[in-house]
Every structure is written in C-alpha cells, then in structure tokens.
C-alpha cells in the first residue's frame, strides 16, 4: 500500500450526528472547508459537539448502531469513514490511549494496522519519537511514563502513521503545567518536520494560539464564527468566555480575599510520612496545619504524593509514620486520630471530594446523592429534604434533581460531588484537583463557592492542585511538595 503523506483537505457539507441514545443532535448543519496545511483551533461551549466532529473526521464514530449521520464529511474528497490512516487522533485521557506495554511497540501499532512493511516500521518509529522529542529506549515500559510523556507517545503513535490530517482532542486538559508545555512544544516541533493539516480542540487558548492560523467556533446552527484568531476572538471573545472557554483577556472573576485571619488549627500533621499502600511510602517529614477559615493548597509536580497527603489528612489513609492529629474542637467525642473515626463520624468532621467523580457517586439520582450523607447521620426526613433542596438550588443542580449522576457533564459532576460533601456540613473539606479539566465557567463557580465556605462557615479547606490560579484566587497558604522532600 502506498502511503499518501501530503497534508489533507477537509470538507464538511451540512454534516450532523445524533447518538442513538439521544433525542437531540450532538451537532448539525456544519459546513466548512479547511485547506491542506491549515492549523485550525476548534472552539465552542462544552457540549457543542467539538469532540463529535473530530471523532467523525477520524472515522471512529462507529456505524449505524452507534448513531445517525447526515450530510457529508470528506477528507481529500473521500468520505472520512473510508479515510482511516490518513487521519491521526490524539485524545484527552493519557491513560486510555496507551495501547501496548513498551514504548516502541506502542508507536509501531498504527503502522502495523496500516500494513507498513516491517523494516520500514522501525524507521518510522524512530522518526516519530524523535519528532515529538520523546527520548526514551524503545523497550521502556509505557506505564512508567508521566502524563505529558504518555500524550507525546500518543502523538508519536499517530505521527508514525504519517497522517495528512492530525486531530488533537483536548490533548493537554489532563496534564500538569509542565506536561502542557511539553506536549505543545512537541506538536510545534513535529509540525516543522511534517506539514500536516491540524485541528485542535482546547479550552486553554493562550497555550495554543501561537501555533494556530485559523479559529472556527461551532455551536447551535453549525459554524458560528470562522477566521483569523485575532478577528474571531475580538468579535466572539466575550461570548466564548461566557460559554466557558478560557479566552486571553477575559479571565474568570476571583472572589474577595478573606476578611479575617485564619483561626485555630483543626488538623495538624507532625513528622508525617504518607503511603498510598502499605510499605510504599511516597513522602515524609511533613509538618503542616489545616486552619479554620483558611485554604491550604498542596502543590508540586505529578507523582510526589500530593493526593496521598490529602487523603491522609482527610482520615482516609493511615499515616506511614508520624501523626495526624485533630483538634479538641474537631474531634470532640471521636478522639484525636481521624483514621480511627468511623465512616459516620468522619461525615460532620472532614469531607473529601475525589479527583474522579465516578469514584464517589453512589446513588441513582442527583437528589438521592445529596441525601446519602444526611441520611447516614440519621437526621430527620424534613431536615434531609431541606438540605438537599438548598444545595440543589445553590449549585444550579435543581433542574437535574432526578437525573442519573453518571449522565451529567464533567462540570456538573464536579459540582455534585462538592455538594454531596457539603450536605453533612463538615468543618474540614479536602478537595483533590477540584478544577482539573474544568471550563472557565465551572472554574469561576467552584472558586466562588469555596471562598464562601471559607468565609461564611469558617471551614478549613485543603486543595490538592497544580492550578496556580486557584491558589491565588483563594488566597491559599501554599504547601509545596518537591521530589526531594
């Protein structure tokens, strides 16, 4: 098979797609032409169908049993479903797109599927790894790579197929700041070698704008705006920012600084060592205080044990060494050691919001989800209903009260898990990456809510985060963990 490596042209003619499980179309009436070698940033509010369009172009939407298509979607004039191999797609979640156990084999996978002769495959693998700047041995275990390296691996895997069109679906949304820069630089380096047509979907514009020469905005009714980045952002910037896109010059609002100084220490760690599982210590020598009416931000690069420290302070993981002590006021009758509290005793004392909402969702409806904590406390029915009502309203979830939590969007799920933790009014709230992958609108809402909790309830907040904007917006005290500590 001869492989066509010229940059591809893309054309959509009144294209639309409806998932078979939904009544509404994911997107409709998209008409658009992208010339060979153009670099396009695709924008739109969350739920506008950006990913659907990319999946359609990559030919991975599936057949008639997955959904219904209308109009035409063409790559170099042939239907996208028949153009596999001409199109490379890199997705958001680094863990879900590593296919094989070794780096070299993973990059070779696409070439094998396209029937590239064996001797040529390994040449292409070397070239692709070089192009993305991933300088590791071919037999390095893929699971030992960092998030940013995994995304570069996925990029190399696509690149080795020599695609004429490269599609990036929020490739940096799940990465820490270093990983974001790493991946962006890789894409830039790669484009210097191979002039593929590029379409990127991303919420964080500042990172990608320097690479881009055209912005397309999609939404209700197809393409809403299309043109040079400057012109589109000038006209559509404000509307996009309102829809949750991180537009330069339109930063989300920060809440006011706390009015009063931090109160007493509710939880304190002394000489603490933390371990995720017994015997695998990730950090030690930790001394830190969690104070009422203030926010403690735990920061540092991936893999230094930030989440593990958060879970240990939350009374969920036992300290590997040293002490986590609760104040008299917090512990009360339950004693001074959070890890020895019962699950129920924990509810009114320390709440935890996990990074993955799916890990902590328990109920069949949003309302039931909010009622689980209060019910476990044995509160009277009237009180349970009142608390759920109040939270539904406050977090704009009232419309969704009867929806299944699993069907909510990412931002809605995040709001729900925070609300569920607040339902039992804990004095301390530990949040693991609360703003991870959230759009600007959800970000602003979450930050405002956490500030209110800090000031109005005098709660102590612990945020495990690598989002430095959150640290600034909440006037948090920073506890930085390093690979050396």
């Amino acid at each position: 098979m001869t492989v066509d490596t010229r940059p591809a042209t893309v054309e959509a003619r009144g294209w639309g797609w409806r998932h078979s499980s939904r009544i509404a179309w994911a997107l409709r009436d998209v008409s658009l032409r992208i010339e060979a070698g153009e670099r396009v940033l695709l924008l739109g509010a969350s739920g506008a169908g950006k990913s659907t369009l990319l999946h359609g172009l990559a030919g991975v939407l599936g057949g008639a049993e997955e959904g219904e298509a209308e109009g035409r979607l063409l790559i170099d004039g042939t239907p996208a479903t028949a153009a596999r191999g001409r199109v490379g797609l890199v997705l958001q979640d680094p863990d879900s797109q590593v296919i094989l156990a070794r780096v070299g084999d993973d990059v070779a996978f696409g070439c094998e599927n396209l029937g590239v002769p064996q001797e040529e495959i390994w040449q292409r693998v070397d070239d692709a790894l070089d192009a993305v700047g991933l300088d590791v041995p071919l037999d390095r275990a893929t699971k030992a790579l960092s998030g940013g390296q995994k995304q570069r691996l996925a990029l190399a895997g696509s690149l080795a197929m020599r695609p004429g069109l490269l599609l990036l679906d929020e490739p940096t949304a799940n990465l820490d700041p270093e990983g974001v820069v790493e991946v962006r630089d890789s894409v830039e380096r790669m484009l210097q070698r191979q002039r593929s047509t590029l379409i990127v979907v991303e919420h964080r514009l500042d990172v990608w704008l320097p690479l881009i020469d055209r912005v397309v905005v999609i939404g209700e009714g197809g393409v809403i705006a299309d043109g040079s980045p400057d012109r589109v952002l000038e006209v559509e910037g404000e509307r996009l920012a309102e829809a949750g896109v991180w537009v330069p010059g339109h930063p989300p609002q920060h809440p006011a600084a706390p009015a009063s100084a931090p109160g007493e220490s509710l939880v304190s760690a002394r000489g603490l060592a933390v371990a995720r599982a017994r015997g695998t210590m990730v950090a030690d020598g930790i001394d830190v205080d969690v104070r009422a009416g203030s926010v403690l931000a735990i920061t540092g690069p991936n893999g230094v044990g930030k989440s593990t420290l958060g879970l240990t302070l939350a009374g969920l993981l036992p300290p590997a060494a040293g002490q986590v002590t609760a104040s008299e006021g917090l512990g009360g009758g339950a004693g001074a050691h959070p890890i020895r509290w019962s699950s129920r005793q924990l509810l009114t004392r320390i709440g935890t919001v996990f990074q993955e909402p799916e890990h902590q969702l328990l109920a069949k409806t949003v309302r039931e989800e909010l009622e689980i904590g209060p019910r476990s406390l044995g509160l009277p029915d009237a009180e349970i209903t009142a608390r759920a009502d109040e939270l539904l309203q406050r977090l704009r979830l009232d419309r969704l009260a009867r929806a299944n939590p699993y069907t909510l969007s990412g931002g809605e799920k995040r709001r729900l898990t925070v609300a569920a933790a607040l339902a039992t009014r804990p004095q301390v709230l530990v949040l693991d990456e609360p703003t991870f992958g959230q759009d600007a609108r959800t970000w602003q809402e979450l930050v405002a809510m956490l500030a209110a909790l800090r000031d109005e309830e005098g709660a102590a907040l612990v945020a495990v985060t690598h989002d430095l904007d959150v640290v600034a917006a909440l006037h948090a005290e920073r506890f930085t963990m390093g690979s050396g500590s």
């Binding site: 999946h55 990559a58 030919g59 991975v60 596999r84 199109v87 490379g88 797609l89 997705l91 879900s96 797109q97 590593v98 296919i99 094989l100 156990a101 070794r102 084999d105 070779a108 996978f109 696409g110 070439c111 094998e112 599927n113 396209l114 029937g115 002769p117 064996q118 495959i121 390994w122 693998v125 037999d139 893929t142 699971k143 895997g157 696509s158 197929m161 995720r276 599982a277 879970l311 939350a314 969920l316 993981l317 019962s342 699950s343 129920r344 924990l346 509810l347 709440g351 935890t352 996990f354 993955e356 799916e358 890990h359 902590q360 969702l361 328990l362 904590g373 476990s376 569920a420 933790a421």
Partner: protein
C-alpha cells in the same frame, strides 16, 4: 501482581516463541491428566527439575513465583489422604475420615501430579512477555488479530482497575457508608468498577481504531514471531518428558488410564 507482571529478559528461554512454551506445557501435562499413579508423576517431575536449571530463572525468583504451587500440592495431598477412596490396610478412621494404604498412595500421586503439571507451566510462563504471547498467538496460531490485540490491551488496564478499586473503597469511607452493610457495599463497588471499566474500554477501543485497527489492509507485524529450531526443540523436550513418564509407569506396572477399563 506476581501473576501479571512480566519482565522481558535476555536468557535463551525468553526468546523462544511463547506458543512453543504453551505447547510444551501442554505436552507435559497431557499424560499426567490421564493417569493417576506415583511413577509417571515422579519421573516427569525429576526430568523437569533438570529443565528448570536451564530456564534462566534465579532460585529466589523460582520460589517467589512457585510458592502457591508448593502450598497447594500438599493441601490437595492431605485432603485426599483423609477423604480419598480407601483401599488396603486402614491406618486410622474418624467419622468421614479414613486414612488407608490406598488413600495415602492416591494422595502421594496427586501431590506429585500437581507439582509436575504446575511447576513447568509457571516456570515456562515467567519468561513469557504478554506482548510476545499475543504476537505468537496471532502469527503462529493465526488467531484473529483484533481479538488478540484487544485482549492484550485490556490486560494492561488491570493495573488501573486495582487503583480504581482502592479509590472506591476510600470514597465509601468518606461518604459515610463504610460502617455497615459490607456485602451490599461490595456489590455497589463491583458495579461502579464495571461502569468505570466499560468506559475505559470504550475509550481504549476508540484510541485503537484511531490508529487504524480494523482497517481493510492486511496487517503487518513489527515483531515477527518465529517458529524455528529452538521452538521445535522445546516441543521435543516436552514430548520426551511425557514419553519417559508413560514408559516408566507402564514398565513399573502402575499405569492406570482413567478413561480406560479398570
């Protein structure tokens, strides 16, 4: 995760096509499944011990990987000694327990049999890398590539499931529901894990399709699986052990074919 983790290694055994290892284990096990006597198992086990020396597996590792077998074999033996079919002199009797000459012989034979079947399988498979096995199954045995590669990629996700399970446990404690109802909670977590794994699986399959899996072109293989002299030699060794075990048992008159007339 001693069962799943596998390191690529450089010894002579590591480079042999895993399909041949599968075949050799099968050849060794075959006659031992069809007879129940002490001699065949003992001979097979003795010959295997010679094989282990050349397998390139260190002693420490040998014990670490095989200890469950060493534990399971005597347990099976004891059970059969106590409850197995009795015959000959009866040494002790208590309720259902009856230790006799026959049950002791049977126990010994079973114990040796468990060792003789399980040990070579474990030793041969320590040196198998899952990727090589998939290559072998798809190329040597011509199993459908889609199926083999899907299973291989899925295997890699097991590590993620273990992390998920741990997080699910912690989250239940945080939500105030971990004090009671252990069974119900377990079922709930199992369901949540199922949902999570289906989602991960769907994403993984999209990623695989985006890399051209299932395209109409004939697939090539970056790592060709050979089936050469070394592979045939290993099969031959397996067959030889098998034959020696049968011959010894027939010669000693202990051979009892379980499917044959008794």
């Amino acid at each position: 995760m001693t069962l799943l983790e596998s390191r690529a290694r450089t010894g002579g055994m590591a480079r042999i096509n895993p399909v041949a290892k599968l075949g050799a284990s099968g050849l060794i096990a075959l006659p031992l499944i069809f007879t129940l006597d002490m001699v065949s198992a003992a001979v097979a086990l003795a010959l295997e011990c010679v094989l282990f020396v050349f397998a390139g597996v260190g002693w420490r590792e040998f014990w670490v990987r095989t200890w469950p077998v060493w534990l399971a074999a005597p347990l099976t033996g004891v059970t059969i000694a106590l409850y197995g079919q009795s015959g000959g002199t009866v040494y002790a009797e208590w309720l259902l327990v009856r230790i006799s000459e026959g049950s002791l012989l049977l126990a010994g034979a079973t114990m040796l049999r468990v060792l003789a079947i399980a040990l070579p399988s474990v030793v041969l498979f320590i040196t198998v890398d899952p990727t090589d096995l998939a290559d072998g199954l798809a190329q040597t045995w011509r199993l459908p590539a889609r199926f083999v590669l899907g299973a291989l990629a899925g295997l890699r996700m097991v590590g993620l499931f273990i992390d998920d399970w741990h997080a699910l446990q912690l989250a239940r404690r945080a939500r105030g529901v971990a004090d009671r109802g252990r069974v119900r909670r377990f079922l709930g977590m199992a369901f949540a894990l199922l949902v999570l794994s289906i989602r991960r699986g769907a994403k993984l399959s999209t990623a695989m399709e985006a890399r051209g899996l299932g395209s109409p072109v004939r697939r090539t293989w970056a790592r060709p699986a050979r089936f050469g002299t070394a592979e045939w030699m290993l099969l031959l060794i397996g067959a030889a052990i098998s034959a020696a075990a049968i011959a010894a048992a027939v010669w000693a008159g202990t051979w009892n074919f379980i499917l044959g007339p008794s």
